[in-house]
């Protein structure tokens, strides 16, 4: 399991003549690596993730997974969204089994694999439950099991925990990073949450916007599972913050070759990356 992801000179605009959303994105994500894409709203990080998933084609450049260009979605590189989007007419078990059914797996195989996955995400006793009766965290766990069912090489997370309460979020972040580490799955997470980035990443890609570019890369060399209370954690967090602020300043002052943004919009409306600083 696990596969290398190549991002080859990706530049994207939605229409010819429209503003550039992504510019010259170039990176190589190693097999089994856990990477976090972090940036302010509108920096194109989610767009980039959709491209890796094959849900969107870049205007220029390409995404390669395990050496092959991505041109369509596949159960081998699976995406989880902010909303779990479970199918309410299926119980927990059938939701998890769906990808296997699509792939034409046999009944016995489905039963065995689903039972194992529900064990893994701690929902073995809810197999027959109506998904609508589950809590938000449990629903996201079902979505995780559903994504893992097809034994993906790559798992892509689009802010999948942002709608959850802080405790559930923290435990799921650890769990997902742990599971992907154990199974050797390459994990790419999009977030605007600095703690989430340090908690889940081997490497953080910091994205700036207008147009979206990878402005900095930060390696997080902490042991797993991570302890948000540790001094090392806080230090990495500060490093990421500083890196982020530099990126922002760089964007505010401009370097002549870039489009300058008006000062009023320099501080983002939601200020997302900084929001959790005071709580930390």
């Amino acid at each position: 399991m696990g596969a290398t992801i190549h991002l080859n000179a990706i530049t994207h605009r939605y229409k010819a003549g429209a503003p550039t959303v992504l510019e010259d994105i170039d990176d190589q994500i190693k097999s089994g690596e856990r990477v976090v894409l972090i940036g302010r709203s509108g920096c194109g990080k989610s767009t980039l993730l959709h491209m890796i998933a094959g849900l969107l084609m870049p205007a220029e450049g390409c995404v390669k997974i395990a050496g092959r260009q991505v041109v369509r979605p596949s159960a081998k590189w699976n995406m989880m969204f902010q909303k779990p989007s479970l199918y309410p007419w299926m119980n927990v078990r059938d939701n998890v089994a769906l990808g296997l059914r699509f792939a034409g797996a046999g009944k016995a195989e489905i039963r065995e694999r689903v039972a194992g996955l529900l064990d893994l995400v701690g929902l073995a006793d809810q197999a027959g439950a109506n998904v609508q009766s589950l809590s938000g965290g449990q629903q996201q766990r079902v979505a995780l099991a559903r994504s893992l069912a097809t034994r993906p090489d790559v798992l892509l997370l689009d802010e999948p925990f942002s709608a959850l309460d802080a405790f559930t979020r923290a435990s799921l972040q650890q769990e997902v990073a742990g599971i992907c580490g154990d199974l050797g799955i390459t994990l790419v997470t999009v977030t605007h949450d600095i703690d989430e980035a340090i908690l889940m990443a081997d490497r953080v890609l910091i994205m700036g916007r207008n147009p979206g570019r990878i402005e900095a890369r930060l390696t997080v060399d902490l042991p797993w599972p991570r302890d948000p209370g540790s001094v090392d954690f806080q230090q990495r967090r500060r490093a990421l913050m500083e890196q982020f602020q530099q990126t922002d300043q760089f964007q505010q002052t401009g370097d002549g070759s870039r489009t300058e943004r008006p000062p009023s919009s320099a501080q983002d409306r939601d200020g997302a990356p900084w929001r959790r600083v005071s709580n930390g």
Binding site: L55, S74, A75, M79, F81, S85, P88, W89, F102
Partner: protein, 273 residues
Amino acid sequence: MNTLASRARPTAPAWPALWRRAAPLAWPLGGIAVMLFVWWLGGLYLAGNPDTLMFASFAPGPTFAALWRMLGEAALWDAIGASLYRIGAGLFWGALIGIPLGIVIGYFSLAMRMANLPFQFLRMISPLAWMPLAVLIFDTWDGAIVFLILMASLWPIVFSTAHGVKRIDPGWFKVARNLGADSLQMLRRVILPAVMMDMMAGIRLAVGVAWVVLVPAEYLGVTSGLGYAINDARDTLDYAALTAVVLVIGVIGFALDSLCVMLMRRFNWQLEG
């Protein structure tokens, strides 16, 4: 005084409790009683006037007597069978054409934009207006009536299904595509179960319209069915039998609607409350 009150207390709450349990049934039964009373008054009025005396058997008494007699005869059951066959066949074709059409219109916004105006226009044409055309096209009266039922049931099914498809959570499509669903699997595992409820709601509306259209359609030409039975009773001046058939039409219509409601509950995946 004290002892009396304490002795009476245990039995006192029995009445409200009994009432609570009976009330849900009592109100509808009361409504039916009012309807029967008004009907009976009407019969009394007809009987009291020499000009309308001949129609007095429209009243509840003669009607129920006639109904009781007819329930033992094959003719009524044949008429019910013929009518149910026609409505069944018409609804079958209506669903067979309407559901796929509704899915296409709901899924592709271009199809929706193209179809909306002509379909809204066609929808407003009384199904009975197609009668002369239906008679020309179909060899048999049965075929023509089934066609009219089809025309009556098509639009509610098309619009309900399309509406349901349009409301499907886009996330469900995205996740299914991500999990490797092909078009057929998407249809079977996502679209159809997601819109099942809306489809059933459309079929319920269709049953209502179709059942209403069936009777006048059976006034024309055919020699079987409940509509024909009404016409036949009128021609033979058997007004009690006429009202009995009207009663049967009402009861069957109510039963068909209840069946639809039951099916809607069966396919409802939304958690109550």
